[in-house]
Symmetry: C2
Subunit: 279 residues, 2 copies
């Protein structure tokens, strides 16, 4: 059986780089064949797994500078049944690709909004007048470069090699220690791991509603390594809370906490337990 | 004395609309004169107050659909000494402004990244091929409209009136109940209010570090109405946590919690107590 692994495409994205690293380990471990399947958006990458078109997906969840990838969180909540199989951390060095011979010639910079945000100070200083244009992926940005030498794109050095495009500057990111954490998602849960992820909503506009869910973990000395809120999009102040626990869901303590949590939340979704890998 | 109130400009932004509403109440209450001062970015709006150029600033902090305005949070943490005087909720209806006679003619859409994100489904359906170009404000987007009728901008209906520009479609936002909450910031704290905001960092890479800060509030039955993390930008997994409490900092219970919190966090910054106003 060949396992289809979905990721944000076209070829050359950071998500593809993460998917390649994961796939190498996966093929060795399972002795299965695997193919990478590029999709035009993060949401479509995740939907491919939910609908059975692909067995696994590799998607970014947070960056060390720009924070959460909100569209991944929103799709995780919406699609409901996806489970986290592994978490994978990748260092990110952005490069400025262009046919221009010098920075002064550049009028427009194309890239994914996360990449533009991770390089905003560099752009403010070196290309203050250039328009910043959002694309669906860092690779999609490259398609404009051949038409016009006043255009630049922010993408990976690997993309520059793949498409034989000149690098004008690298690294571009405002902070040197720029990393992105990816999730490997599937329909089956992983057997377990050091971290457990979940999300819950609470009854809106009731005083004290977040207190009880947080007490469930505090009373059992279960640490959260991350807590993040996203709007439910129903009304202001009405949130979905995303929590990462430093605990395996197979432990009795974690199971008791999850059982109690389901009694004091409106909707509770668990995304399984998994390990965090830094290749 | 005339009070200078900074906001994201140029004239016609939602921040200016919020600043106008606040200013009306402020002038009536204090019998002082006030002038609005537009700045080219949210960060510069907040720096104007930190450096004494303006006495107050009105800045967006969260939207009911897109969530946190991360640049406001990052500047609040960085600038350190700003205090929240009031919180103000404004309904947001986006309009598509263009000299084009029909949608089919539009090739590029300019707006602030938050406005583009709040209308992304509408854009996916009605203008799937149009490029989305980020501007520093919804009003800055308007300066391109007169040059070229294949360009559209997303801005407020008020901006359309101010600059005498045609509205092609309204409302554009993907969810009808679209609201943005603004903060009024100054150097002096407000005398008190129903909500208290603070942010703290914890020692990185230590197990259990978030547990104790959350227990401080849970043990005293102090509810959080919002908890949000932002990267410290030092390393992945190292966060600043922003917390809104449903409590007045003048109460002995809150004061005891804040005193204990300072002993179990690395850096603790308090932004004062204030009331939330929905005009």
């Amino acid at each position: 059986m060949t396992t289809a692994i979905a990721h944000l495409g076209p070829s050359g994205t950071y998500a593809e780089a993460a998917a390649l690293i994961f796939t190498k380990g996966f093929v060795t471990e399972t002795a299965q064949e695997a193919i990478l399947c590029p999709y035009p958006s993060i949401a479509q990458t995740m939907e491919a797994v939910a609908q059975g078109e692909a067995q696994l997906a590799v998607v970014p969840i947070e960056n060390s500078i720009e924070g959460s990838v909100t569209m991944t969180m929103d799709a995780l909540w919406r699609l409901d049944k996806l489970q986290i199989r592994q978490s994978l951390v990748l260092p990110i060095d952005h490069a400025l690709l262009s046919q221009a011979s010098q920075l002064e010639a550049i009028r427009r910079v194309y890239s994914h909004p996360q990449a533009l945000a991770q390089c905003q100070q560099w752009l403010d200083i070196h290309l203050p007048k250039a328009q910043r244009i959002a694309t669906h992926s860092t690779t999609e940005a490259l398609q404009h470069l051949d038409e016009d030498s006043t255009i630049a794109a922010i993408a990976s050095q690997r993309a520059a090699q793949l498409y034989n495009l000149p690098i004008l500057n690298c690294p571009l990111n405002d902070y040197p220690d720029n990393c992105t954490r990816f999730l490997v998602l599937g329909l089956d849960p992983s057997p377990g791991g050091t971290h457990t992820s979940l999300a819950f909503s609470v009854q809106a506009n009731q005083p004290g509603v977040l207190l009880k869910p947080l007490q469930v973990f505090a009373e059992r000395s279960i640490n959260m390594s991350r807590i993040e809120s996203r709007p439910t999009k129903r009304s202001l102040g009405d949130y979905v809370f995303f929590v990462d626990l430093e605990a395996d869901a197979r432990l009795a303590k974690t199971q008791a906490a999850l059982a109690e949590l389901s009694t004091c939340t409106e909707t509770l979704k668990t995304f399984g337990s998994y390990n965090v890998v830094s290749p």
